[in-house]
């Protein structure tokens, strides 16, 4: 900094305005606005930082005992004190991926319909109902999964399996609880997030865009698909990121339908386990420092996995954006 000549410094000297100028600026409101909003943003970052720090510190005993092999080991034996995270990471990724595969087309499709094609009255009524869905406690969704969805799936899945059993993803016996079931339940849970945010974003696309496309002779659908949706793409992607994080961290509904079996199954119809579910299941009764440390380290792993997946998704969106604009 000392290399910069003072003559180039165009900022007014700090003392020049004095107290009067400071109060004037303060009265204008800018400083207050900056200070309060900065404080808000900083609080969120601080909470996250403290969270990661605590997870890191409290998992020390487990990190020292297992090192990096914690991420690759498939054993989870509380009695012998042997812990590995791989089956849980696998289960989290598979259920989340299924939820996104089912949830994104349904959610974005519904949002387009509600924002562009449905009569306004129907649109606002349906949107209200969908937002209510977001307020349903996850334990209720889990119970619906057990008592309504699983009996239905038990009727539908086995006949389909008979036809598709040559695909490893659909092989093996179906007990109702499975990675697939958890994925479908998660898809239902993330739908309201995708739909309500995407709908708002599409509604906020300026009307000139639509009028311009229509004036050029585009049909209503061409206008929606080629003009409105690309315009709203960033907002839609944002809703999907939110849904992604929600799906990865969901606990109660997943544990109720996933089967809670820490094995890496090749079939989607087999039971599995997720990181959030095992923490919720075992933390209350975990005695011994190593056991608790391992569960806390799983929390750290979930944080890491969420960052990686979210980052990858953002990169994907950025790369398509470049292609779109060229």
């Amino acid at each position: 900094m000392s290399a910069v000549p003072s003559a180039v410094d165009t900022r007014p000297p700090a003392s020049s305005g004095g107290a009067a100028a400071f109060w004037k600026r303060l009265r204008a409101g800018d400083e207050i606005a900056i200070a309060t909003t900065f404080l808000s943003a900083f609080t969120v970052i601080l909470v996250t930082a403290v969270l990661v720090f605590e997870l890191y510190q409290k998992s020390a005993i487990s990190r020292h005992a297992f090192g990096w092999s914690f991420l690759t080991s498939t054993t989870w034996d509380p009695v012998a004190g042997n812990f590995g995270a791989l089956p849980f990471i696998y289960g989290t990724l598979v259920t989340t991926a299924l939820a996104m595969i089912v949830g994104i087309p349904l959610g974005v499709g519904a949002a387009i319909f509600l924002a562009e094609l449905a009569p306004p009255l129907l649109s606002s009524a349906l949107s209200f109902l969908i937002e209510l869905l977001a307020a349903v406690p996850s334990v209720i969704i889990g119970l619906l999964g057990i008592f309504v969805m699983i009996p239905i799936l038990q009727q539908i899945v086995p006949p389909v399996q008979d036809k598709l059993s040559w695909i490893p993803l659909f092989s093996g016996p179906f007990y109702g609880v499975s990675l697939f079931t958890a994925g479908v339940v998660l898809a239902i849970m993330i739908l309201p997030f995708i739909i309500s945010i995407s709908r708002e974003v599409i509604l906020s696309v300026p009307n000139d865009q639509r009028e311009g496309a229509l004036a050029l002779g585009a049909t209503r659908w061409e206008t929606t698909w080629n003009v409105v949706v690309p315009y709203a793409r960033k907002g839609i992607a944002g809703s999907i990121f939110l849904a992604l994080a929600r799906a990865m961290g969901e606990t109660m509904a997943v544990t109720m339908v996933v089967g809670n079996d820490p094995k890496i199954a090749h079939s989607l119809m087999a039971p599995g386990y997720s990181i959030a579910a095992v923490i919720a299941n075992e933390f209350a009764e975990a005695t011994g420092d190593l056991y608790q440390g391992a569960l806390i380290e799983l929390g750290l792993v979930l944080f890491g996995v969420t960052i990686i997946v979210n980052g990858a998704a953002r990169l994907l969106v950025m790369s398509t954006e470049k292609r779109g604009s060229s």
Partner: protein, 343 residues
């Protein structure tokens, strides 16, 4: 006008009295096991009605949490479905500078529940069959180990779907403790614990998760609390005890199991699975209150001691109505003496 003033005065007086009463209230905090929560809350409620100045606040956060909180000194008593091990007791002594006492309160039992299309009666299970099934060695319902003790029952040639608890629980501790006692294989490969590395099976969350899974899937076998099986009217199997009798779990059979333990240790830290005795049901357990032997506050000490005496006498008469097995008389007599250790 005067009536108005006097009314205000009366209200003020009433509020004053109420707050004075509140000030004298003695609140005793506890935390731990979920399994005995219904009977504990009944006890604490009845006791509060009888002695309005004493109230209990019990958080059913799980046995592990109960042990942690009493060790950390954040509660006045803990509760656990499994006794504290030597290491945990050592830690308690180091942190709190006193000893921890175990007081059995009621008994619970685990029962095998199943769902096989066409089979409605009570099946008989031998220890070998249960261990074999949960180890994944017996995989079909028509295995001779299962059909043998069940003549005349048409068991299908179908794979057994095992269901266990997914979360850590005293129920699982009792079940795996029993399997460890009757099968060397189980003891070395899996062992006992509130959650274990299951060789086979699906995990259901809570008694309701296991029973829901069992009800919905054909050819399943799981285990739930006796209380839960009775209250939700599920059919459960009989288990062969160490005297060679097939016994259906009942409150009497569970109390008999506790009474048949020959050398009750002075600290009551004892597993009562697979006990001797013809009528004893083999898969049962005590649940314990964990109380420090030094309580600094004399008022709290008196309240806890009084409550323990009340729990062993009046309290025991309330257990059966809630489907908990009461303690046998021998244990009650021994506990009465142990209360004197609280200083």
């Amino acid at each position: 006008m005067t009536s108005h003033v006097s009314r205000v005065l009366a209200i003020l007086l009433a509020v004053g009295c109420a707050s004075a009463a509140l000030a004298q209230q003695l609140l005793i905090n506890g935390a731990g096991a979920t399994f005995p929560y219904p009977i504990y809350s009944k006890w604490f409620d009845e006791y509060h009605k009888k002695f309005p100045k004493i109230s209990f606040n019990y958080q059913s956060i799980g046995s592990g949490g109960g042990i942690q909180q009493i060790t950390a000194g954040t509660v006045d008593f803990g509760a656990s479905d499994g006794p504290m091990n030597d290491k945990q007791i050592q830690e308690f002594k180091e942190k709190r500078g006193s000893n921890i006492l175990h007081f059995p309160t009621v008994l619970g039992a685990d029962v095998p529940v199943y769902n096989i299309r066409g089979v409605t009666g009570q099946l008989n299970f031998t220890p070998e069959a249960l261990a074999g099934i949960f180890l994944g060695k017996i995989t079909k319902w028509n295995d001779p180990a299962i059909t043998g003790p069940n003549p005349g029952v048409n068991l299908p040639n179908a794979p057994i779907v095992v269901v266990h608890r997914s979360e850590g629980s005293g129920t699982t501790y009792c079940w795996t403790d029993y399997l460890s006692k009757i099968s060397k294989d189980w003891e070395t490969k899996v062992g006992r614990g509130t959650s274990v590395s299951w060789p086979v099976g699906l995990g259901g969350k809570g008694n309701e998760g296991v029973s829901g899974q069992v009800k919905q899937v054909n050819n399943t076998l799981g285990y739930v609390e006796l209380v839960y099986a009775v209250q939700s009217k599920m059919t459960y199997g009989k288990v062969k005890n160490s005297a060679g009798e097939f016994v259906a779990a009942s409150l009497e059979g569970v109390t008999a199991a506790a009474g048949s333990v020959k050398d009750m240790p002075a600290d009551f830290r004892v597993s009562i699975t697979n006990p001797p005795g013809k009528t004893a049901y083999p898969i049962s357990t005590f649940t314990w209150l964990l109380v420090p032997d030094k309580i600094a506050d004399p008022a709290k000490k008196k309240a806890i001691v009084d409550f323990l005496h009340w729990m062993l006498t009046t309290g025991q008469t309330m257990t059966s109505a809630l489907d908990y097995a009461p303690l046998p008389k021998t244990v009650v007599a021994k506990e009465e003496k142990a209360i004197a250790k609280i200083m």
